[in-house]
């Protein structure tokens, strides 16, 4: 029976170290800078263990009862720690406070364990044996934990499930102790009930951990999430970190406030500045209003029609103060009309001409989006411009996905549009591509562009160079993206595959 207690030293030591490692890993995962995170977590944890050890002297009676209660508490708090921390990261403003509180509480209770066990066992061994045995098992446990954590637990179970599993071990120690030391324990029945209830709770949570993990969306938004909404069509997530704001749709980066001006100025001005006194502009997609912001810099523009499927998205960019600040309140401008309709269906039914059309859809990463880059879509798109009109299409990265880019060009050419591809560097995205399309040939050597004042990136002199492509940006695909081959989505998938953290 005493050996059972020594075995529990081993289990308890393993669990204690695992919680520390989980919290450290979770903190560096969510907050970055693993040296800082691990070192502060370990420091806090060790210090808390010291605090626990100190307070152990105040427990004088029913030590076995106290030990059992502590095991259950550690099992419960430690077991749910990872899930709780992931959850609070998304919903709580001061995440660090919660993080250190949790690790401090776990540390305190773990700190109580060894002193208590030593006192429970003090009558059964000689002092020198006791110290030697307890610390031997303690350190073996630590070894097992630190080896299994990176090799087994993280790869096979993940953080949430590992913490639950070790919570189960803690409570199992409590339960076995209750059963074996029945005669030495007070109010054994109630204690046993509590232990069983805790165990069931943890086991059920472990059984449902897959659902839990997907609910917690344990994915890497490295920045703090300031806004999250699941609309009927997509998941909108807005993050903020040191003054930089990022918008993610379904986990794909749409823009970073730091360099979106490069992306949007290139999307809009390279084409729009070629049109003499543009009056009517059509924006397909672009519900963030950032392209509209750029178009509004042309005083001759009388009407901007923005067709974006997601009403909740455009509403967000009409009302959220930070976002309205970013798009200069463009979506509330009287010249801007927002239509929340599907762009394909709208374009198919459209009878109006526009001077300039901006096509700003998410990248063709799914079949549904691939339709908006298809020959059928483009053949309807041609009816939105007359012989003098221009279309600018955002066309993914010609560096990473050169064939995808080429397929977009090919498909536009196949509906009898003249094309001029161009590209810019956007730090958040990398090398980024666009295609300018029209019903007549275009001259890209032009440096006398009617650019509005106050641009941060585009200038007349540099625009001709954007149409130059280096060798590594040119794909050789001859394919045309059709609804019945979706070759673009398939190519895009292949080309982006090596970049697992694919953005935009």
């Amino acid at each position: 029976m005493t050996y059972l207690l020594l075995f529990s030293v081993f289990v308890v030591a393993t669990c204690g170290l695992v919680y520390e490692l989980i919290t450290g890993a979770l903190a560096s995962y969510l907050l970055g800078d693993s040296v800082t995170q691990f070192s502060t977590i370990i420091g806090t944890y060790l210090f808390a263990m010291g605090v626990g050890s100190y307070f152990s002297k105040f427990f004088t009676r029913n030590l076995l009862n106290v030990f059992i209660e502590i095991e259950m508490i550690i099992g419960l708090i430690g077991g749910f720690s990872a899930a709780f921390l992931f959850l609070s990261y998304e919903y709580v403003v001061s995440f660090r406070f919660i993080l250190y509180s949790v690790i401090f509480i776990i540390g305190c209770f773990v700190g109580l364990e060894i002193p208590l066990l030593m006192r429970i066992l003090q009558d059964r061994f000689e002092f020198k044996d006791l110290v030697s045995k307890i610390f031997t098992y303690d350190y073996i446990g630590a070894l097992i934990a630190s080896i299994s954590f990176p090799l087994l637990l993280v790869p096979y179970l993940g953080l949430v499930r590992s913490s639950l599993l070790f919570g189960i071990f803690n409570v199992a120690v409590a339960l076995v102790t209750i059963i074996v030391f029945k005669s030495e324990i007070k109010s054994e029945g109630f204690l046993r009930f509590k232990a069983i209830a805790t165990l069931v709770l943890l086991v059920v949570a472990f059984g449902y951990s897959e659902k839990m993990v997907s609910f917690l969306e344990v994915q890497n938004y490295r920045e703090r999430i300031v806004f999250k909404k699941n609309t009927a069509y997509q998941k909108i997530i807005l993050t903020q970190n040191a003054g930089e704001m990022k918008l993610f749709l379904n986990g794909n980066l749409q823009f970073s406030s730091k360099d979106e001006y490069r992306y949007h100025e290139s999307l809009v001005h390279v084409g729009l500045s070629r049109i003499e006194k543009p009056k009517k502009v059509l924006i397909l997609g672009g519900g963030d209003g950032l392209a509209a912001r750029e178009v509004l810099k042309y005083p001759s523009v009388q009407k901007i029609l923005l067709v974006d499927l997601d009403g909740q998205m455009t509403q967000l960019f009409k009302t959220n103060p930070i976002l309205v600040d970013l798009n200069k309140n463009a979506l509330n401008d009287p010249k801007v009309e927002v239509l929340n309709e599907d762009a394909f269906v709208w374009v198919k039914n459209n009878k109006e001409f526009f001077d300039f059309v901006i096509v700003d859809f998410p990248d063709p990463s799914q079949f549904a989006l691939g339709k908006l880059y298809s020959k059928t879509f483009y053949s309807y798109l041609t009816s939105t411009i007359d012989a003098n009109g221009l279309i600018a299409v955002q066309s993914t990265s010609p560096y990473i996905a050169k064939n995808s880019f080429q397929i977009i060009v090919n498909t536009l050419n196949d509906v009898a549009l003249y094309t001029k591809p161009y590209h810019v560097y956007v730090p958040s995205f990398g090398e980024w591509g666009y295609v300018l399309a029209a019903k007549a040939p275009m001259d890209t050597a032009e440096t006398n562009l009617a650019l509005p004042a106050g641009l941060q990136f585009i200038s007349s002199e540099m625009v001709p160079y954007l149409f130059q492509f280096s060798k590594d940006l040119i794909g050789d695909s001859k394919d045309i993206n059709r609804l019945n081959n979706q070759i673009l989505v398939r190519t895009f998938e292949q080309e982006w595959e090596p970049f697992s953290h694919h953005e935009n």
Binding site: L175, I179, V180, K182, R192, I196, L199, V200, V203, V204, G207, A232, Y233, Q234, L309, D310, D342, A343, F344, V345, K348, F361, Q366, F367, A368, L369, K371, L372, S374, K375, T376, F377, R482, L483, N484, N485, Q486
Partner: protein, 540 residues
């Protein structure tokens, strides 16, 4: 110690029973809330009206009418007969349909989510020799260009991704199994593929392709026609194509087109499925035309064009040719309950031919078909709201390996919309074939089954492909077809080819139906509609 151990076991048992009990309980609770999601649906039984007629047959007519040409049956063949008559300026005809809407196996419905099919739901691209069909499809606006250089519109070609198969717990692209198959399976599939490629271009001694669409264009070379005398199952065995994977795939294909398994259809018919279509160009292999409402799209064009000629809720029976050559018949109006005696110059019988003995007074010279040539089907239309991820992954056709059903098609697949809220209608096809029973025995077995009996089966089928789907079902409408379609059993094609069909089996009477061909394909319906109309125009 003794008490300790006993106690230990006791509490061990208590703990584990609480644990396993609660896990089981939660599972039960979950499955109970899942099952019988809170949905309802319609039950559509095709056979009601036929049975009502039994009493009407004894009544005396109360009116006399004259319709120069009566087309009995508003299925696709009847409608196409009318289409070609009207197109050529012949307008003195009526198409009489027993049901309250025309369409037969191409009928469709619509709800707030989408249109959806109740039967035939696609048309393969025609062979280049089938000029009449190509012209027809072009006239409907499905294709552009010169007949020899026709281009089908992308909007109506089945969009990518087209087909997927649920096998060994996972989805794979294409219906040909490759996930979890062994080398032998793949070798056999490869051998079959080579066999098919060989037959596709092979011609008989009469210079015709061995397998062609329409069937009547196929070679009559006895060397190949003898394939109609053995079952497809025996043929596969003879060629060593016996692996589970191959046999499943072949059986799936014959069930899909004919409603019968490989034990019943002939080797000729089984091979016809694979070898009769030669793509217009190399890019067109396996391309099909499809619409949310399936062939209901074509049906709408036809009924719209023929709206002055179609009369629904009309049954025609007691058909007889008088010695004067005039064709007499009785027409019952289900709406007014009125029975009329009708005099016609011609009558086109475009209904299923197993009914002919009940509708013609003189039983001689009737088509040689049998009720056991027609198996039953269940078609279920399930309106669901999927989560966006699941919706994204849908293909047009979604099939489960070794399932009894044929899987489901997804009505909003052809939607041009880039994004969707996840609502759609899934059409699940379930041929009620049993290799150990005749079609009549199957009908008897299912005759008592109603919506309440089928809905859980359909639900279980969906659940086996998509755990949890039951809880997102909004409604489920189910239709049972007692005699869904003719299947080319052993010997049928021989009859079709060897006793060339005579358009006027009886004086003044034409038989126009895919039953003439022994297989229920759109191309066959078109062939007979077109041909019978030409005959009528020729003979006036």
């Amino acid at each position: 110690m003794k008490t300790d151990r006993r106690e230990f076991i006791k509490y061990g048992l208590i703990t584990s029973s609480i644990f396993f009990g609660s896990v089981y309980g939660i599972k039960q609770l979950k499955s109970r809330t899942k099952r019988r999601g809170n949905y309802t649906g319609q039950w559509l039984d095709q056979s009601d009206r036929g049975h009502q007629l039994r009493d009407v047959i004894k009544q005396e007519p109360t009116a006399n009418i004259k319709i120069p040409l009566v087309i009995v049956g508003g299925g696709i063949t009847g409608l196409l007969t009318g289409y070609y008559l009207k197109k050529n300026g012949f307008t003195d005809f009526k198409i009489l349909e027993m049901n309250s809407s025309a369409g037969g196996n191409s009928s469709y419905s619509q709800n707030s989510v989408s249109k959806f099919p109740w039967g035939a739901h696609y048309i393969p691209l025609p062979n280049k020799e089938n000029v009449a069909l190509i012209e027809f499809l072009r006239d409907l606006g499905l294709a552009k260009g010169d007949i020899r250089n026709i281009e089908f519109s992308d909007e109506f070609l089945c969009q990518d991704p087209q087909e997927r198969l649920f096998i060994k717990g996972e989805w794979q692209e294409s219906l040909l199994p490759h996930k979890g198959t062994n080398e032998d399976d793949q070798k056999q599939l490869h051998r079959f593929h080579e066999l098919v490629n060989d037959y596709k271009t092979k011609k008989g001694s009469d210079g015709k392709y061995v397998f062609s669409v329409p069937v009547l264009d196929s070679s009559q070379d006895p060397n190949f026609l003898k394939l109609d005398q053995i079952s497809f199952a025996d043929f596969l065995k003879e060629h060593g194509l016996v692996s589970d994977v191959v046999v499943w795939y072949m059986n799936y294909c014959t069930l899909d087109d004919y409603g019968m398994g490989i034990e019943s259809v002939s080797a000729w018919a089984g091979l016809h499925y694979f070898c009769s279509r030669r793509s217009l160009d190399s890019n067109d292999d396996h391309k099909i035309l499809t619409w949310p409402e399936g062939n209901g799209w074509v049906l709408q064009k036809l009924t719209n064009y023929l709206k002055d000629h179609i009369e629904t809720d009309r049954a025609v029976f007691n058909i007889r040719t008088e010695t004067s050559g005039v064709v007499q018949s009785r027409i019952y109006n289900f709406e007014t309950k009125e029975l009329s005696e009708c005099e016609s110059k011609h009558l086109v019988y475009a209904g299923p031919q197993f009914l002919a003995p009940y509708l013609f007074k003189n039983k001689q010279n009737l088509p040689d078909v049998n009720v056991d040539d027609y198996f039953s089907w269940i078609v279920a239309n399930i309106t669901v709201k999927l989560n966006p991820d699941e919706f994204q992954k849908l293909h047009w056709d979604n099939v489960r390996f070794q399932s009894q059903s044929l899987g489901y098609v997804h009505a909003r697949h052809q939607d041009l919309r880039g994004r969707s809220d996840g609502t759609t209608v899934l059409t699940l096809y379930w041929p009620l074939y049993d290799k150990d029973l005749t079609a009549t025995e199957v009908r008897k077995k299912i005759s008592k089954l109603k919506w309440q009996d089928w809905a859980p089966r359909v639900e279980a089928e969906l659940e086996s492909m998509h755990p949890g789907m039951a809880s997102v079902i909004h409604s489920m409408d189910i239709k049972v077809y007692g005699h869904a379609m003719i299947g080319p059993r052993v010997g049928r094609i021989h009859k079709v080819l060897k006793q060339p069909w005579n358009a006027r089996k009886k004086q003044g009477v034409y038989f126009a139906h895919t039953d003439n061909s022994g297989m229920s394909l759109f191309e066959e319906a078109h062939y007979w509609g077109h041909r019978v109309a030409q005959e009528i125009l020729k003979h006036g």
